[in-house]
């Protein structure tokens, strides 16, 4: 794989900074039905899906660290969760390479649910009082639904930002060759 690590790194840094600023300064403050979207797990999952497990894990870790520092929260919690999300979605891409249009939506919803449950578990394990109740359950489910609704646009934006610095996907190359009339294995016979 001929990866241009420097270009990819810069783009990931910019995506991470932009995501945290946008989330903290705007998205967190817009509530619809009492819940807000959480771009952070969506972006971590999208980077994993587009770039693979290793860049996904590193990006998730760095994004979580930035979020913990920017919001003065317990350092390490968000890193641990987002690192797991980035790695898991990256492995999904490497092992299964799902191609359906609905994949980013499902992965986004799963990543959001994993992030919410991960936060609650870690918060509980760290001994902080967790206010459990229907209102909170509604908030968790609402965030998952909200994020599922915006998962595809977020994935497309991340993909568009990163695609030019990634090595060309063999499947994409093959598909393009079919549509332009050459190199199909069926045409050899």
């Amino acid at each position: 794989m001929n990866l241009n690590y420097r270009s990819l790194g810069w783009r990931l840094v910019l995506i991470g900074l932009f995501t945290v600023i946008l989330q903290v300064a705007a998205v967190s403050q817009v509530k619809i039905f009492g819940v807000n979207a959480d771009l952070v797990p969506l972006v971590a999952a999208s980077v994993g899906l587009v770039c693979g497990a290793l860049p996904g894990a590193v990006f998730g870790f760095a994004l979580g660290l930035l979020l913990d520092f920017a919001l003065v929260e317990t350092v390490g919690v968000a890193s641990l969760i987002l690192l797991t999300i980035g790695y898991a979605t990256g492995r999904l891409r490497e092992l299964r390479d799902p191609q359906g249009a609905i994949v980013p939506l499902l992965v986004g919803a799963a990543a959001t649910a994993a992030a919410q449950i991960g936060f609650s578990l870690l918060t509980f394990l760290l001994g902080q009082e967790v206010p459990l109740g229907w209102a909170l359950l509604w908030e968790l489910l609402g965030t998952v639904a909200f994020n599922a609704a915006i998962a595809i646009p977020v994935y497309l934006v991340v993909r568009r930002c990163l695609l030019s610095v990634l090595p060309e996907d063999p499947r994409r190359r093959r598909r393009r060759a079919y549509t332009t009339g050459g190199l199909s294995p069926l045409s050899r016979s």
Binding site: L22, F33, D38, L83, G133, L136
Partner: protein, 289 residues
Amino acid sequence: MYDRAVRRRRLTLAALLALSLLLLTAYFGESSGGVLHSAQRGVFGVFAPIQDGASRVLKPGRDLFGWFGDTIDAKGRVGELERSNRNLRARAIAGSEAERVNGQLRQLLNLDNAGGLAAAKPVTARVIGQSPTVWYASVTINEGSNRGVKVGNPVINGDGLVGQVSTVTGDAAVVTLISDGELAVPARVSVGGAQGVAQTGAGGPEDLRLKFIARRFRLDPGATVVTAGTVSNSPGLESLYPPGIPIGSVTRVEDPETDAQKIYLRTFADLRKLEIVQVLTSSINGNRR
């Protein structure tokens, strides 16, 4: 080649996991003056002006999306507000009589608290950031130690108590909201004078519990709860909160007048839609009544 890539991937994952756990443990183990906390304050100091600028730039977009949310919420609240309006009108009539009597009593007792909070040197600030998860009940404001804001200062808005300053840099501060489990506010029921502690734990970001209320007090839904201020005469036991700041109203009481009574509160301040807040930077008479 493949084995090397797999080994590198696994090593990186293990290293990042270990680093996360190490940071988590170190952060929890150190005091608030430790290396990680200091580094966090440093990054926060750099990040806060960017956040402030972004918050201003993104305000039109935020307002647009907020308008959709508010419209949907407002439709659901019309009936509730109409009922509330009827109750308030009846109470306003009773309140004007009580106000007259109260005024006379204040004159008699020479306890004129008019403008009490103005003497607490309030600093007006704008909310420039908010945590994306419900697990951290905190907001970031655009005023800090350069305007006299200190850790522990109470924060209010037009509706009532919002929280307490937990981290300060020169131009920004983090406010831990009263819905955070780590905050406990000495509280008093405005009618009857029952005293307890308001703390989260009821089930939602705006739900609080009023704890440690003696069983001889019977509380009804709708009762207003305010900050108690300092109740002890000892100089070292001063409350951080001035007396009389509205906190919320009682929504329901389970097992009333027993030792196990559970009193649920709904905050007056809408903690999900904070925009302008005030930090009370000075205490008056040790926050005593």
